[in-house]
Amino acid sequence: MVVFDKPHALTDAPLHYCPGCTHGIVHRLVAEVIDELGIEGQTIGVAPVGCSVMAYNYFNCDMIEAAHGRAPAVATGVKRANPKENIVFTYQGDGDLASIGMAETVHAAARNENITIIFINNAIYGMTGGQMAPTSLPGQVTQTSPYGRDVNHCGYPIRVCELLSELEGPEYLARVTVNSVKNIKAAKAAIKKAFQNQIDGKGFSLVEVLSSCPTNWGMTPQKALKWIDEAMIPYYPLGVYKDRSAKEEAK
C-alpha cells in the first residue's frame, strides 16, 4: 500500500532550494491540488524572477518563465488565448509581486482576471542574497537595511491581501502559512479553492503564503518557522480577506 508518493504534477528534478526553505512545501501543495483537480494537462504555470525562477523545471504542466514582476500580465495573455481550456497560475515572490510587479498585480486583480496567484511572502529577496523586500518588517536587518528597516527612511511593509481587498475586482484573497502541519493543511485548502475558483470561472484568486528564508534571515530552519509566528503573523494576520462568492451566498 502506497502511503506517501510524489504528486504527478511535480517532475523528478531535484529542487535547488536551501535547506529549511518552505518553497518545497508550497510547490508540493500546488502539485497535489493540480493532481486532485485533474487539471495538469490544461494547466500552464508562470514562474517569476526570484528564488522560484526555475519553478518551470519542477512542475510537469506547461511552464513559462516571465520577466521580473510581469507574471500576472503574461498569465493574462495565456488565459485570454484560450479562456475555456487554459488553467493559468503564477508563482511569485514578494519582490516580484509587490515591488517591481505591483502594477501588474493590482490591475490583474482589478480586472478580476480569471487566474490563480500563489504569492510567497518571506519578507526578503532570496535569490539576490537577502535584500530588503517590500514586505520586510520594520526593524528587519537585511543586506540593504543593515541597521534594520527604518520606516522613516524607506517606509512601511505592504500588506498585499489588505491592499487588494479594497478593489471591487478580485474574487478571493487569503493569507496562509506553512510553518506547522495544521497550517499546511489550511494552506492547501486555500490553494485548492484558488484553483477551483478559476475552474468555476469566478476570477482572480490570490493566496499569500507566509514563508521562511532561513538562509537570508540567518536562522536555523526551526527558528525561522518560529519567527513566522512571532514576527510575521502579528504584522500579516492570517485569514480570508475577500471571498466574494461566499459573501454573496451569505446574503
Partner: protein
C-alpha cells in the same frame, strides 16, 4: 483608409485575434480599431495598464502559439524594450508596431524616424535582432503587417513595423485582398500538455554560460539566414544613377518627388528604398556603389540609417545626410537642393 487602420485590419486578416496596447499618440487609431472589431469576431482587445504589461500580455499569448500584436509610439516602445528582449530570448513570434514620433524623452507627437537605431540594433538588452519593416504607403502598411506575422512565425522572433506619424495618419485607398500563408505548426507552444506529451517550457534563462552561448550562436545562425534571404527594397531610377538616395518611409516619398524634379534638370539621380531595415538590403547598395559617385541619406533623424549605408558601400563613395528632426519633414525642395549641391560637388550637370 488611414495607415493605422490599415495595419489593424490587415492584422485581423492575418489571423491575429489578440491585441494589447496602451494609448499613445500618434498610433491610437490602431487600438481604437481593434477595440471596435475584436469583440465582433471573437477576438480579444485589452487596454493594458502600461506598455510593459501590454508587451508581457503579448508574450503570454505568443507562448501559446497564437498570432498576437501590440502597437505603440516611440516612448512606449522604450518601455516595451524589456519585453522585446524576453521575446527574443524565448524565441517567441510577435508583431510590434512603432508609429514613431520625435524624441528623445517625451519629445513631440509629430513624425520621426529617430528610432531606427533602437529598432535595427537592439530594442532591449542582450544580443538580438528584430525583423524591421518600413512601409512607405498605406497599402504597404497593410501588406507588411501580414508579412510581419508570417516572418515572425517562420523565424520565431519579433517583427516590427517601423512607421511614422505621417504613415499612420495618412489616408490612401488600400486593397485588402491580402494573401495569408497558413501558420506553421508550433510544437513548442505552451497549450497544456493534454497529458500526451512532455511539458513545454518557454524560457530565456540559461544559467550555464556555455548553454547560453549556444542559444546565442544558434539564434545568430538564423539571423544570418534571414540576412541572406529576406531583404526587401525598391529601386528607383538607379540604373544610370550617379547619385543614389537612401530613404525609407515618408522620406522616400518626399525623395521621389525631388528625384523626378532633378531628373528634369538633367541630374542622374536614383533611390534605393529599404523596405526591410533589418535585414538591411546591403546588396543593391554594394552594386550601386560600383557606378554611383555619391550617396545621400534622407532621414527624419540626426543620421542613423546613414551608418548602414556607409557600411553597405564600404565607404566607396561619400554619403551625405539630408535631414529634418523633431517632427519636421524634409521638403522636396530641401532634398532637391541637397541633390543639386551633391551634383555640383561632383562637377556634373547642373
Amino acid at each position: 483608409m488611414k495607415g493605422n487602420e490599415a495595419i489593424a485590419e490587415a492584422a485581423i486578416i492575418a489571423g491575429c485575434r489578440h491585441y494589447f496596447g496602451y494609448p499613445i499618440t500618434p498610433q491610437t487609431e490602431i487600438a481604437a480599431y481593434m477595440a471596435k472589431r475584436m469583440p465582433k469576431i471573437g477576438g480579444t482587445f485589452l487596454q493594458a495598464e502600461s506598455e510593459i504589461a501590454a508587451i508581457n500580455m503579448v508574450y503570454g499569448v505568443a507562448s501559446t502559439g497564437l498570432r498576437v500584436m501590440t502597437s505603440s509610439s516611440s516612448p512606449g516602445i522604450s518601455l516595451k524594450g524589456e519585453g522585446l528582449s524576453y521575446l527574443a530570448g524565448a524565441d517567441l513570434p510577435a508583431l510590434v508596431v512603432n508609429v514613431q514620433r520625435g524624441g528623445p524623452g517625451l519629445g513631440g507627437i509629430q513624425p520621426s524616424q529617430s528610432d531606427y537605431f533602437q529598432a535595427t540594433r537592439s530594442g532591449g538588452h542582450g544580443d538580438f535582432r528584430m525583423i524591421v519593416l518600413a512601409p512607405s504607403s498605406v497599402q504597404e502598411m497593410a501588406e507588411l503587417t501580414v508579412k510581419g506575422f508570417e516572418l515572425a512565425d517562420q523565424y520565431r522572433m519579433t517583427a516590427m513595423i517601423l512607421a511614422d506619424g505621417t504613415m499612420g495618419q495618412m489616408m490612401e485607398p488600400v486593397a485588402l485582398d491580402l494573401d495569408v500563408k497558413p501558420m506553421p505548426e508550433k510544437q513548442w507552444a505552451t497549450t497544456g500538455t493534454k497529458m500526451n506529451r512532455p511539458h513545454n517550457i518557454v524560457n530565456s534563462l540559461f544559467l550555464d554560460p556555455a548553454a547560453l552561448e549556444q542559444t546565442n550562436f544558434e539564434r545568430f545562425e538564423r539571423y544570418k539566414f534571414i540576412e541572406e534571404n529576406e531583404t526587401m527594397y525598391e529601386e528607383y531610377l538607379t540604373d544610370d544613377a550617379e547619385i543614389v538616395i537612401a530613404a525609407f518611409g515618408i522620406a522616400a516619398r518626399v525623395s521621389k518627388n525631388a528625384i523626378d524634379e532633378a531628373r528634369k534638370q538633367g541630374i542622374k539621380v536614383g533611390m534605393i528604398r529599404p523596405i526591410t531595415l533589418w535585414p538591411f538590403p546591403v546588396a543593391p547598395f554594394r552594386k550601386a556603389a560600383d557606378k554611383a559617385k555619391a550617396f545621400i541619406s534622407v532621414e527624419l533623424s540626426m543620421g542613423q540609417m546613414i551608418e548602414d549605408v556607409r557600411l553597405a558601400i564600404d565607404c566607396k563613395a561619400p554619403v551625405t545626410l539630408c535631414n529634418r528632426v523633431g517632427g519636421m519633414i524634409p521638403s522636396p525642395e530641401q532634398v532637391l537642393e541637397s541633390i543639386r549641391q551633391t551634383a555640383a560637388s561632383l562637377g556634373g550637370a547642373n
